[in-house]
Every structure is written in structure tokens, then in C-alpha cells.
Symmetry: C2
Subunit: 216 residues, 2 copies
């Protein structure tokens, strides 16, 4: 049984080891992530690795859990919000999303999970979605619901509109980055892209002026 992963607390030593493992993964992909390699890079024994994480798969799962635990969940909104602030929040979200997806570690972990996705169970992929994606989803959905409540946008199916926002922001960039396309990772353009995506999103879903004031 592959060690406990429900308890995502790691000792400092274990965290340091996982950090080294992530570095190895980022540098050389899954092929470079050997147990002996991690042990050497982290100056620990293979025996400790197996004791802490069970087996290699447990190590991979721990790396995902560890990385996810480093990303703090946002809880923006709260204050009052007019159309301009709502738009700014959307742009912030878009920019953050692009930056997260373009991160070295994020790309490496996604490549890892996708590479293993054909295996039965899909443990890693499910973990990645559960731990990494849910946060982003919930942040965006909270934002969208706030916009809806204040009459700034109109929609029927929240998930549908969220996925549309996602598509407008990310397009095929994520897959292109996962494939290692050089030109794809130009964080310089992220700000522009975030603006344009939100522009189009609001063009599709913003409530019209006359609706913004009151009822239906």
C-alpha cells in the first residue's frame, strides 16, 4: 500500500527530498526520475525513500501532493464590486492561470501524469486534477457567481460559461507548452492574452446596460 497520501503533511526532510525530486523531474523528465537519482540528489538513502513513500508511484503521488500544498488557495472578492473591478478580477485570474500553467513544475507534473494516463486507475492524473485543478476552478466559479449575483454577467450553466472562459484564455496554449513548443512559453504575451480573453468573454456574457440596474 502506497503510503498515506491523504495526510499531505511532510516532514521538513521529506519536503527537501521532494523538492530535489521535482528538480530532477523538471530537468530531465520522467526518465531522469530514478529512485537512485533522487536518493543521490537529495543525499538520502533509497531505503528511506521506500519507507516514506512506499514505492516509486507513491513518490510520484507525493510529489504532486507536495507541489499542490505549496499553492495557496485564493479567496478574493468579499468587498463590493462594480463592473470595472469585476473585469480587473477576471483579467487577474486569466493572467494567473496562464502563469501557473506555464510554470516549469506544473508542466513537468502534467507531462508525468499524462504519460502515465494510459495505465489503469489513472491515480496520478486524478490526483493532479483533484489537487491542482479544483483550486483554480473554485476560484473562477466563485468569481463568476459573484458577477452573476451582482448582475454584471448573465448565464444559465455556470460550468459551461466557466469552461468557455477557460478556453478563451488558454486556447491550445497548454497542449503546445506540454509538447515543448518553444514559442508557446512567452510570458511577455500573457498580459495581452489575458486582456483579450476577458474582452471577448465579456462581449459574450456581460449583461446589457439596461439589465445591470435591476431585475430580469
Amino acid at each position: 500500500m502506497t503510503a498515506r497520501i491523504s495526510d499531505d503533511e511532510f516532514t521538513p526532510r521529506q519536503s527537501a527530498v521532494l523538492e530535489c525530486a521535482l528538480e530532477l523531474l523538471v530537468a530531465g523528465g520522467e526518465k531522469a526520475l530514478t529512485t537512485a537519482g533522487v536518493a543521490r540528489a537529495a543525499s538520502c538513502s533509497k531505503e528511506s525513500l521506500y519507507k516514506w513513500f512506499g514505492d516509486r508511484d507513491g513518490l510520484l503521488a507525493a510529489m504532486i501532493a507536495y507541489q499542490a500544498s505549496k499553492v495557496r488557495a485564493f479567496s478574493d472578492d468579499g468587498g463590493m464590486m462594480d463592473a470595472a473591478r469585476f473585469r480587473a478580477h477576471l483579467v487577474d485570474f486569466a493572467h494567473d492561470l496562464l502563469q501557473v500553467l506555464a510554470g516549469d513544475v506544473s508542466l513537468a507534473l502534467n507531462r508525468l501524469a499524462i504519460g502515465q494516463a494510459s495505465r489503469e486507475g489513472n491515480r496520478l492524473a486524478r490526483l493532479l486534477i483533484e489537487r491542482g485543478r479544483r483550486r483554480i476552478d473554485s476560484r473562477a466559479c466563485a468569481l463568476l457567481e459573484a458577477g452573476m449575483r451582482r448582475g454584471l454577467i448573465r448565464y444559465e450553466d455556470r460550468d459551461d460559461v466557466y469552461h468557455t472562459l477557460y478556453g478563451l484564455i488558454v486556447r491550445d496554449l497548454h497542449v503546445r507548452m506540454l509538447l515543448g513548443e518553444e514559442g508557446a512559453r512567452r510570458p511577455i504575451h500573457f498580459a495581452d492574452q489575458a486582456e483579450r480573453a476577458v474582452e471577448r468573454f465579456l462581449a459574450l456574457f456581460a449583461a446589457r446596460e439596461e439589465e445591470r440596474a435591476g431585475g430580469i
Copy 2:
């Protein structure tokens, strides 16, 4: 040197072997794609594999080239096109795109290329983009340019508008399918999704009635 891949003609025997290899890859992922396994499944000798494809990487490249060669390039349009036909062409494109991306072999090859993307050079990933993606891109761009020429849509940057169309159609579905998410591959919903995506695309880029008739 990894055999010639620029000449994408394979003998019938080689094609049969590559077919078996693709089956193996789809069934069990990269891990299941061993030279011995391919030889056994295809009833050929490992020596022939190495003679034909050079080494394992050459085999992978040949699989991509072979699969790409099976997909015939569209050359739709040609006839005259009004707004309704243009819309129908867009929906067709969207539907085809979703169906292609959701294909077993497509997903398996993308997983393979992504899993190897961290290696230097990125040969497989570049091959996949070059051979697989370009066709889709060119079909869509031809369609968009035809729509532009006939005054049905208006845009400034063709690539930008194409990527927006792509994002509206695919959203995060491709990555979710690559991660093996069960709910993602529901071809039943593809038709709906294609309709909705085109709807939104036209809401963003369709020329207004008064523009459709004549000049600026």
C-alpha cells in the same frame, strides 16, 4: 541515424507492423510499447524492426508519420458560400476537430509525445505538430479566410481569431482527455459543443448585417 522519415512511404508489411505497434500503444501506453512486444504482436523479428526504423525512437517517429499519412487533408470550400453555409462549415470543422482529438490513436500519440517532450530536441512532439496539426490549422485558416473574403466575418489577425475559435471549441477538453478523465470522452456531446462554440464564435466575429453587403 534514425532511418529516413522524410519519405513517409511504408511497405505494406511495414504498415501492418506499425498498425500493430499503434494498437499496442493505445492498449497499454508507452510502457507497453517494447520492441519485443511489437515484434511478437506483428509476427516479425526484432532485427527487421531495427533494420526498418533504426532504433526505438525511429519506430515511434514512424508510427506518428504513418498515422498522419492516414488522415487525408480536406480541401472543402470552392463553391459559393452564404452565411448559413459558412456557419455549417464551421460547425463541421468543430465537430471533426473534437472527434479527431478524442480518437484513441490521437490521444495515445499525444501522450507519447508529451511524455517525451522534456528530452532535448523534442523530435516526436515537433513531428506530431508538423504532421498532425498543420492539416487542421490550414483547413481552418482557409475556411476563415474564405469567410473574411466574402465579408461574413471580420478580423485583423487571422492566427489570433483561429486560436480563439480553437479555444471556444476545445476548451480544456483535450488536456482532460489526455489525463484520462472518464467523463471527458463523451462523443455524444460533441455535436452540441460544436454548435455552441460556433454560435459564440460568430457572436464575436460575424460581420454585422450592414457590413455584409458591401465594403468597409
